[in-house]
């Protein structure tokens, strides 16, 4: 009986409410030393990949910079390229927006990262959801939801065409014959569509893994279809067993409908882990951490993201706001990925929840935003992670922590060894393996041959 091997990644804890920056153990979210520590820990744990999220404007609330959470983050590509020099085996995944980048430059940067890292680059393609980000870019105006996915699709297709424009044998570099390039057409490309009309020659050789791994994190039907049709892995926020299982089934069905083998796509929810020596200790720790993450003020702000209006007049310890959400109004909080696709439905669900349990506003928000999926002893957490994976609720997880950068340490030191003992997680990297190889993904042949349908 063969058991699924678990995929594990780690995202850098930073700009979000679940980073407890005022904990004395919390370090810088900018300094190189933080990234280096985090990467070395992840590599010590033999994790598959490091994951950086992205935001291209500072978060604002009511037009003012939101100053209660971590503010500021470094440039994703730059950090990943530097990490390629200190971590030898682990995958380097960057969330990079397709709305405010051009395919030629994206393809070059990822190809460079892939060459410098020996085949460890991954791109989490996001489309951005907030219009004011456009004010930081030449493109300026923001694209509608449909156009963003059209652009994302065309961007990815263009980038893949560029990655394919050099054969893996294009560089001959034979001094005797004086032949550097195989022929004069290396790098030729032409791509046109609704969003792009570009042609010429690409500058950067094909990378060791053919194409960097492509991840996606959309959750609308359009986002899921885009991911199902084109991604190697999906980063999801659905982490409770039942919802994770439902998301998994839905996406794998979409993958099948897109003519691909469901095994070609890894589904990786984000997850927080809180450990204790006993179950009780872990629960107490979790309660303490979660109290700091969703403090009274944060509970108001998170509710505001759903209601899309100022709720500062409401008492966090009182009932849910008696006003209706105004999803059509200008966005009250900018710069965060949206929390809901349907505000009215979400408010209704929250009200039902509060009613059923007698929850206050803050209780409700704490319940909904509990990122710590796995709380318990290391054995229990290892069991749970394995249960999700063996029962097809996920193919693995991208782990976060409330402390930057050292929060990953205890997971690596205490949970990973148990998974290794059970034979569901690697005990060492295969020397020289690419990220694709580590994830068990096929090596793409040129010109989309790998897109050939595998019916199942």
């Amino acid at each position: 009986m063969s058991r699924k091997q678990i995929v594990l990644g780690a995202y850098f804890p930073g700009v979000n409410h679940d980073t407890v920056w005022n904990d004395p153990a919390s370090g810088s979210h900018i300094d190189w030393e933080s990234f280096e520590h985090w990467a070395r820990t992840a590599e010590r744990g033999r994790l598959d990949l490091l994951f950086l999220v992205e935001g291209l404007r500072l978060r604002t609330r009511g037009g003012e910079v939101f100053d209660q959470d971590v503010v500021g983050r470094p440039d994703t590509f730059t950090v990943l390229a530097a990490l390629a020099a200190v971590a030898e085996h682990i995958g380097l995944a960057g969330t990079i927006n397709s709305t405010f980048n051009e395919p030629y430059e994206l393809a070059r940067k990822f190809a460079t990262l892939d060459l410098l890292s020996g085949g460890r680059a991954a791109w989490n393609v996001v489309t951005s959801s907030d219009a004011p980000t456009g004010e930081n870019f030449r493109r300026g105006a923001f694209l509608g939801h449909h156009q963003r996915y059209e652009r994302a699709g065309e961007t990815l297709a263009a980038v893949r065409a560029l990655w394919d424009s050099w054969g893996s044998d294009a560089v001959v570099a034979d001094p005797t014959s004086g032949t550097f390039l195989r022929d004069g057409h290396v790098g030729d490309f032409a791509v046109s569509g609704n969003q792009f009309d570009i042609a010429g020659r690409f500058t950067t050789p094909r990378s060791p893994q053919g194409h960097p791994v492509v991840l996606q994190a959309g959750e609308s039907p359009a986002g899921r279809d885009f991911a199902a049709a084109s991604a190697d892995a999906i980063f999801s926020r659905y982490q409770r067993f039942d919802e994770a299982r439902a998301f998994y089934d839905d996406v794998k069905a979409r993958v099948r409908r897109a003519g691909r083998d469901p095994d070609e796509v890894r589904i990786l929810p984000s997850a927080g882990v809180v450990l204790g020596d006993t179950a009780v200790e872990a629960r107490e720790r979790h309660e303490h951490i979660h109290d700091q993450q969703v403090d009274p003020w944060t509970s108001i702000v998170l509710a505001e993201m759903v209601w899309n209006r100022d709720l500062s007049a409401y008492d966090p310890d009182g009932p849910l706001p008696d006003v209706e959400p105004t999803p059509e109004a200008p966005k009250w909080i900018e710069g965060r990925a949206p929390l809901t696709q349907d505000a009215h439905a979400t408010v209704a669900a929250w009200r039902e929840l509060a009613q059923a349990h007698g929850y206050s506003l803050r209780d409700t928000v704490k319940h909904v935003f509990d990122r710590a999926v796995f709380v318990g002893t290391p054995e229990h957490v290892a069991d749970e992670i394995d249960r999700y994976v063996q029962n097809d609720a996920s193919d693995g997880f991208i782990l976060g922590s409330h402390i930057s950068p050292s929060g990953l340490d205890e997971v690596v030191d205490r949970v990973v060894p148990i998974l290794q003992e059970r034979g569901v997680f690697r005990t060492d990297y295969t020397p020289g393996a690419t990220l694709r190889e580590n994830l068990g993904l096929a090596h793409p042949s040129r010109f989309g041959e790998r897109r050939a349908a595998v019916a199942s």
Binding site: W32, L56, Q68, P74, D75, V186, A199, D295
Partner: protein, 419 residues
Amino acid sequence: MSISDTTTTGGPLHLAVALDGAGWHPAAWRDPAAHPRGLFTARYWTDLARTAERGLLDLLTIEDAFGLQSGDHLSGADRRTDRVQGRLDASLVAAFLAPTTSRIGLVPTVTTTHTEPFHVASALSTLDHDSHGRAGWRVQTSVRADEAAHFGRRSVPGLRRADLDTPAARELVAELFGEAADAVEVVRRLWDSWEDDAEIRDALTGRFVDRDKLHRVDFAGEHFGVAGPSIVPRPPQGQPLVVSLAHGYDPALLAARVGDVVFTTPHDADDAVRIVAQVRAAEAAAGRTAPPLRILGDVVVVLADTERAARERLARLDALDPLSSDAAVLATTPAALADTLLSWRRAGLDGYRLRPAVLPTDLDAIVDGLVPELQARGAFRTAYGETTLRARFGLPRPASRYAAGADAAVVPTPTGATA
């Protein structure tokens, strides 16, 4: 302060090395000592950077472009297969080199023509954070039609060298330089948009930042607008070092308006005098209030133990594929090169950017031959002193222009620290 009072004539030289492919000679990759199969690997760049750092050089630059190499840098890529073709993204190579080196300045080339200034600002700021204050930016414009077609956002008519003096060409160049000046201005504003002490982590009030110390930059120019603030906190140097290459008055004017250091191409001692005068005139015309530009002369170097061996090396390379260069080509011994550099610098040059004809051969010769020669004459450092790249050039750390009481100059006037 007067324009020239920080220009030293007797102090230590600044020495930079310009890295590009297998070296600046088109036949460099065919040299027996070259590593042409390694050009796209981490190992190749790490070895070069470590050598340059062993030689205590001020900084290394990494060439880049959005189009394949071309015999004529104005035109599109030729379809030649007998020369080095292909490049890695220079800013990511520099990022990779940050943790593998500790003192040398890292200066990637990044064009202003097709990039997003917001991304450029974030990338260089992050390079400065990751390298602890060693980042610079070689600002470059892209005039090539093929590069524009790679982006499809604007069309550039395409220029031939012979057309450079036509009104259409002048207009294009003026447009691209104007855009470059805007791009540098935006990037500098973004670097300033976080005051140094914006991150307060005030547990008592629950505030991570003091939002009064974060500033919109609200730049609105002809080609783009950027709102800001930056997503990256202010870099360690305040502003990474801004450098550009100038072959004539217009590019010198761009450097004078927005730069910290300018690379020039003197061909002899008299030419160096003319160039320095031109740069200083450009500074006066630009009404520069920042510290005077540090002027480095670019030269291509082919080094050997004897003058004759150096010339023969060059001849052997030229026989394979002749070098045509904008910069002087000095094929000589390290000692004679030291003489030349010291004699030209009397014109007021602050130092040189050396372009090794063959890598790693001529870089090794710079580090193991030229550097000891200059050290023996007291003209080059024997250990790294300052830690940041700006400080190495005697440039003060600028205050954020948005900080209360800050000087309004593009780059604030120096506080007295000079080379």
